[in-house]
């Protein structure tokens, strides 16, 4: 989604003149054109993410809309207290962008992965977390962020490409109908469902969550859960603090009563070995045979 992100920034630059873009020394072969367009509003703050976030807080206090950009863990977990104190406690519109949530950085290894970002960010006061799903989401998310007067975190990853028409970017979206089981997921990992045998894929009803914290749950989804009785949650994120834990209270409060409720998520590094993003997803049961087996069991 980096290309879509850079294009979105450039397309919206003149429409929102208070923007400042700050990078933590990243953007080679991606943000050169953004640098050209933003000119003196493009700042390379160096490899100093704590200061970068603090600077952004002050710029936001002064009426600017600052973007801060780095690889996901370096712009979320490294400056976590700066985000909490300087940005979120003051409810300032700093726009945090993390490239490569989950296992997005693949073979780069565990220091570059971020399976804790959604949980860590969604509990910060005033923070809204955006997890785009498909390529067109990125520009819509950028516009959403530019119009939201609060702190935001945007998790960029490789976009999914569904055959179905995906509704515009929103907290809840129904991607497709199905009568066998309801899959609720966040982010492009949902695209792994497209690799399932078609007769299985057709049985799935797929819903995506793209904005956290959850504010409400659609009545239609509760009804579908109660009809299908089988639910799978799916996220490229730790099982703690992520999608499943965010939606479970809403299912409970709304008397959803699935007979099977299965959660798949990033399991970390079970073998201690490394690979590309797909390899890690497979090791966590988020892709391939293990995903197929889980869904076959769910449908029984």
């Amino acid at each position: 989604m980096r290309k879509e992100f850079a294009k979105g920034l450039i397309d919206n630059f003149s429409l929102y003149p208070k923007q400042v873009f700050i990078t933590g020394d990243l953007g080679f072969m991606a943000l050169e054109e953004v640098r050209n367009v933003f000119a003196d509003r493009f700042i390379n703050a160096g490899v100093a993410e704590q200061n970068m976030v603090t600077i952004a807080a002050s710029l936001a206090y002064e009426g600017f809309i600052p973007w801060v950009y780095s690889i996901s863990p370096f712009v979320t977990l490294r400056p976590y207290e700066q985000l909490r104190n300087d940005v979120c406690l003051h409810n300032l519109p700093v726009k945090v962008v993390g490239n490569g949530g989950g296992y997005g950085y693949g073979i780069m290894g565990s220091t570059h992965h971020n399976n804790e970002d959604i949980g860590a960010m969604r509990i910060l006061p005033n923070m809204k977390v955006l997890v785009p799903l498909v390529p067109t989401d990125v520009n819509e998310a950028i516009i959403w962020m530019l119009n939201n007067p609060q702190p935001n975190y945007l998790r960029l990853n490789l976009a999914a490409n569904f055959k179905e028409h995906v509704p515009p970017f929103a907290q809840w979206r129904k991607i497709k109908s199905g009568s066998g089981a309801v899959v609720i997921g966040t982010g492009p990992v949902l695209g792994n469902l497209l690799e399932l045998p078609d007769e299985i894929y057709q049985k799935l009803e797929i819903w995506a969550v793209s904005i956290f914290p959850i504010e409400d749950i659609p009545v239609e989804l509760i009804n579908r859960v109660n009809q299908c009785k089988r639910v799978l949650t799916m996220e490229e994120h730790s099982g703690n603090g992520g999608l499943n834990e965010a939606i479970a209270p809403f299912l409970l409060r709304n008397q959803a009563s699935p007979s099977k409720y299965i959660n798949i998520f990033s399991k970390g590094y079970p073998s201690g070995k490394y690979g590309d993003q797909s390899w890690h997803q497979e090791e966590s049961g988020l892709k391939g045979d293990s995903l197929l087996n889980t869904i076959q069991d769910l449908l029984k």
Binding site: V20, G46, Q50, S58, L59, E62, D86, L89
Partner: protein, 261 residues
């Protein structure tokens, strides 16, 4: 803007107010406020213009900040009386978004210099002529984020920023030079590209000289103000205890007597 001869009486008034606040609240951090009273007083009453900003990075000295702001008529005496009480805006460290002239909640050390740098950058982008002042402790120079800000300030040539270090040489659990030695601090900051001015942080005349000295500076400026923690608190000055302990009645009365007109 006050003249230097008027400042000692303003300092006394500010001290009396915050000592009363601390005494009534049975609160600590008294030494931290006594350490930087002259710094904040000079900035507010003899240096800052109306639109200039001050970031007190050593948020644990909030009482002196509140007292200075009360002296300037920004905080009411009625509100001052709520210090430390349930339901107050005047917490032990500066609050979020509630008091004019206190742009940020501080208290976690190592944030203030970056916040000031961001304000100074905003001022440059807006092409206004504000000055941004930041008062840090010396202990928080241990923080890596302080040095990130130092590098950034130089990289962006933020010569509209004036950083004052309250150099009282005591930090949380010992002396700065025995924990994470800072000296030679002048040379370190010179090497980072700052104009460095070193003064006696309790001497108003020294501040006037420092102010005159950076009228035309084209580099970022740091003023290292040598101070005494718990300045003027007999038996407690320059001791760790003055950071943590509240005053007893005899100490309070003795200090108030010393400050009497």
């Amino acid at each position: 803007m006050s003249n230097v001869p008027e400042l000692p009486s303003i300092v006394k008034s500010i001290k009396k107010r915050f000592l009363k606040m601390y005494f009534n609240a049975k609160a600590g951090h008294i030494g931290s406020s006594l350490s930087c009273t002259e710094i904040l007083t000079f900035l507010k009453f003899s240096w800052m213009n109306e639109n200039d900003e001050l970031v007190l990075s050593k948020g644990h000295a909030a009482a002196v900040l509140y007292s200075v702001w009360a002296e300037a008529g920004i905080i009411s005496e009625e509100e001052i009386n709520t210090f430390y009480k349930n339901g107050t805006y005047l917490s032990a460290h500066p609050p979020v978004n509630k008091i004019k002239g206190i742009p940020f909640a501080t208290g976690s050390l190592g944030h203030g210099l970056g916040l000031a740098a961001g304000l100074a950058l905003a001022s440059k982008l807006k092409k206004d002529d504000r000055k941004i002042f930041c008062v840090t402790s010396d202990g928080e120079i241990n923080e890596g984020s302080t040095w990130e800000a130092v590098l950034f300030i130089k990289a962006q040539q933020l010569n509209n920023l004036i950083w004052i270090i309250d150099r009282n040489k005591l930090q949380g659990f010992g002396h700065t030079e025995s924990i994470m030695p800072l000296e030679p601090l002048n040379e370190k900051l010179l090497a980072f590209g700052f104009d460095v001015i070193r003064i006696n942080g309790h001497d108003i005349n020294d501040f006037q000289k420092a102010k005159n000295g950076c009228q035309n500076c084209n580099k970022p400026t740091v003023i290292i103000a040598d101070t005494n923690k718990g300045n003027g608190w007999e038996g407690m000055q320059d001791k760790l205890e003055c950071h943590y302990l509240p005053m007893n009645l005899a100490q309070y009365e003795a200090m108030m007597l010393e400050l009497a007109d």
